[in-house]
Amino acid sequence: MSGRKIISFMSQNAIYIVLVVLVIAIAIWDTRFLSLTVFRDILLQSSTRTIIALGAAFVLITGGVDLSTGRVVGLTAVLSASMLQTTDYAQRFYPNLGEMPLWLPIVIAIVAGLLVGLLNGFVISKFSIPPFIATLGTMVMVYGINSIYFDLPPNNSQPIGGLRPDFTNLGTGYVFGMPILVLIAIIVSILVWIVFNKTVLGKNMYAIGGNREAAIVSGINVGKNLLFIYAIAGALYGLGGVLEAARTGGATNNYGNMYELDAIAACVVGGVSTSGGIGTVPGVLAGVLIFGVINYGLTFIGVNPYWQLIIKGLIIVTAVAFDIRKYLAKR
């Protein structure tokens, strides 16, 4: 009986076990891996990814998918960076722009992300276009819009640099010995957890993904809820894009390329069901961290980057194969 209990515990917590095993395995390989600096670096690298993946989780749990993620990240990175350059920088995006208050460009960028999300949600709920197609469309459009903006004179598609220190401080600074970026990711995770578990919107999100037809019969306004959910997702990508710019100290129109796949991978590894209705914030965090540990750890012990890709791919498939056992019919 206890053997069965162990197996059941293992499959219920497969993701967290994989994470711990990974850390232990890398640490055995090279004990220097177990250091505070390493963990801080991993958390730092995982922070923007966490925020973006949580946005993707909203959509996945409704049974949808969002391909526009990466391009929204690119758009908002460029938008915020273009308005937050130091006044003495040579190649300014807006040569005559004065010093804006820090929050304003950030809010503008997040609102831009939110608007793209609203567009996704509107098209999906109003015209019943499958999310895959609708967000494929916005993904392409947003890249086009971003590229036009990025190509405006006098910038003419030059990488945006010379960002203000108070802005880059968000991505690289510390408070109380804790990276600000990590702090932001933690706060966002808590907020998202609250939305998932304690609000009507969260409950409706699970219901819509769990059985859309039953949700309609239950008098849930599916269209309105989807609109909100895609908008929130867009806003989170927006925040992610802003922080990417702050972290790296620059932006180009190719920022965020393919982030949607990383976000989806982190979500599914973290136990979010692509058919909807299932997913938790701790799971998504574990999913992001697994990739963080792999990226950092494998480089740390000197694994060839191409091999890293193969290992990552294997992890995606095996983790999901284990996790899905929870939900398969018991025989």
Binding site: K198, K203, G210, S218, Y327
Partner: protein, 504 residues
């Protein structure tokens, strides 16, 4: 008919963690007969059949075919041994045609070596011959998605025959068939019997069983109760053997008294030609209005339109003498209506959500605190109270609803809608696929609600249920109301006559 058995399952036992699902069950099936397998949901019928198909490995016991011991480890094995199953829910490939569905996985080929192609001509001819032999009128190149449920079922039966099956298991084959289609099915079954095929027939419909079965085996709680010739059985005898006690009454005593008119519907008409039209009726406070009719009478369409799930071309709806517009379930809820849909699995439950979330899903707004968060304690209390009140058998509120039995799932959906405090409850086949014991509990719930002054519209295809539970019965035929009868004094003949009145 010889004495030898075609199929014997002897002393089959199967244990799951904590449950003895089958306990030494023996069933012997004669060739050329229909063998009814009966029992409440959870009695072990499907587990037994899954052992036959190798989906489960029995812990004990053996399976004999023509006296020979066989081991079956998967459904392909079963097919090779001439055992096939017509499932309750059919899963054809909808976008492909009939013959491709029948020969799937074993297409006739022509050519040689690597240049082998599907021999469409032979497939067509073989399929046609198969249908001719079985006296079925289906064209081999029809796209399956365009066929009716009964035609698809016929196709599945033909497929089973094409595998040379000697034993065909039919799980609730008539659950979505019309009267005429049932007659056609029974004709096919007779045809199969003549060929010496044995049919294991699983159904909850007693009348049907007595009409068609030769032998009846009853199971209860994973054990065999016994096997009898159908000719010696009556409905009451079967039921009492299934539930293990004498059933003195199938319906609770009702003490509701219909009051003033609450809902009035005038000339409700669908925009679609073949759907409901010109439907008018009144529903009183505390009244149970049964809605009878054959499958295809558009009863579900009517109530879904009332609830705002389908569009309406013309007609008026009055609640408390005030005209209301209901364009969506959201509007319907505002007017204190609730709908328990017919397809519990498709439009009722949220399978991967817990019992608690399933209970609260239609009622979340009641728990919003001033900070826009949900009041967790209140949610838990409400869910707990309602789940207890309706006697849902569940290990905990956190159990996923998909792990409950059909009857308990239905009770959770009742709990869900009761939390919205509706005045009008629309129940579409509320006891479909629910075992007899749980049915009585559902009936009791309905009677209690009516007594509390709730008005109930209940669609049912089971005449005894309609007559036993309704104050009045509205009978529909081909989309129109063909008449009203009094629940207490109506006869089955009267209802059937009304139900078929407008058929062309």
């Amino acid at each position: 008919m010889g004495n030898r058995y075609l199929l014997e399952m002897i002393n089959i036992s199967k244990e799951f963690p904590g449950v003895k699902a089958l306990d030494g069950v023996t069933i012997r099936v004669r060739p050329g007969t229909v063998h009814a397998l009966m029992g409440e949901n959870g009695a072990g019928k499907s587990t037994l059949m899954k052992c036959l198909f190798g989906i489960y490995r029995p812990d004990e016991g053996e399976i004999l075919l023509n006296g020979q011991k066989v081991t079956i480890t998967n459904s392909k094995d079963a097919l090779n041994h001439g055992i096939s199953m017509i499932h309750q829910e059919l899963h054809p490939v909808p976008f492909r045609n009939v013959m491709e569905n029948i020969w799937l996985g074993r297409f006739p080929l022509k050519g040689f070596g690597p240049f082998r192609f599907v021999d469409e001509k032979k497939m067509f001819a073989d399929t046609q011959k198969l249908f001719q032999d079985l006296d079925m009128d289906i064209k081999p190149d029809t796209i399956v998605g365009s066929m009716s449920v009964s035609q698809i079922q016929m196709m599945e039966i033909a497929k089973a025959v094409s595998y040379n099956s000697k034993v065909i298991v039919m799980d609730e084959p008539t659950s979505s068939l019309t009267e005429n289609e049932v007659a056609q099915l029974f004709k096919t079954i007779d045809e199969l019997k003549e060929r010496g095929v044995a049919i294991i027939y699983i159904s909850h419909k007693m009348e049907e069983i007595l009409k068609i079965a030769d032998d009846v085996t009853v199971m209860r709680d994973g054990k065999l109760v016994g096997t009898w010739p159908a000719s010696e059985m009556t409905i009451d005898m079967i039921i009492s053997k299934m539930v293990g006690r004498d059933l003195t009454q199938r319906f609770p005593v009702r003490s509701n008294t219909p009051g003033e008119v609450l809902l009035r519907v005038e000339g409700l008409t669908s925009p679609f030609a073949k759907s409901f039209r010109n439907v008018s009726f009144e529903l009183r406070r505390g009244e149970i209005l049964g809605v009878g009719g054959l499958v295809g009478a558009q009863r579900t369409e009517l109530v879904e339109a009332l609830f705002g799930l389908r569009s309406v071309a013309s007609g008026k709806i009055f609640i408390n003498d005030r005209e209301v517009k209901i364009n969506s379930p959201i509007d319907a809820k505002k007017h204190k209506m609730a709908l328990l849909t017919e397809e519990r699995r498709v439009t009722g439950i949220f399978p991967v959500l817990s019992v608690m979330e399933n209970t609260l899903v239609a009622n979340q707004h009641q728990y919003v605190t001033p900070y826009k968060l949900l009041h967790q304690q209140k949610r838990k209390e409400d869910a707990d109270r309602n789940v207890k009140m309706l006697r849902v058998k569940t290990p905990s509120l956190k159990t996923l609803i998909k792990d409950l039995s059909g009857g308990n799932q239905q009770k959770v959906i009742f709990a869900r809608w009761l939390l919205t405090e509706p005045d009008i409850l629309i129940l579409d086949e509320p006891t479909r696929g629910i075992d007899i014991g749980a049915k009585f509990e559902i009936y009791t719930i309905i009677a209690d609600l009516a007594k509390q002054g709730k008005s109930i519209i209940m669609i049912s295809s089971e005449l005894p249920e309609l007559m036993g539970m309704s104050d009045r019965i509205m009978v529909m035929s081909a989309g129109q109301v063909s008449g009203f009868v009094d629940g207490a004094s109506a006869t089955e003949e009267e209802i059937m006559r009304l139900a078929t009145r407008l058929l062309v």
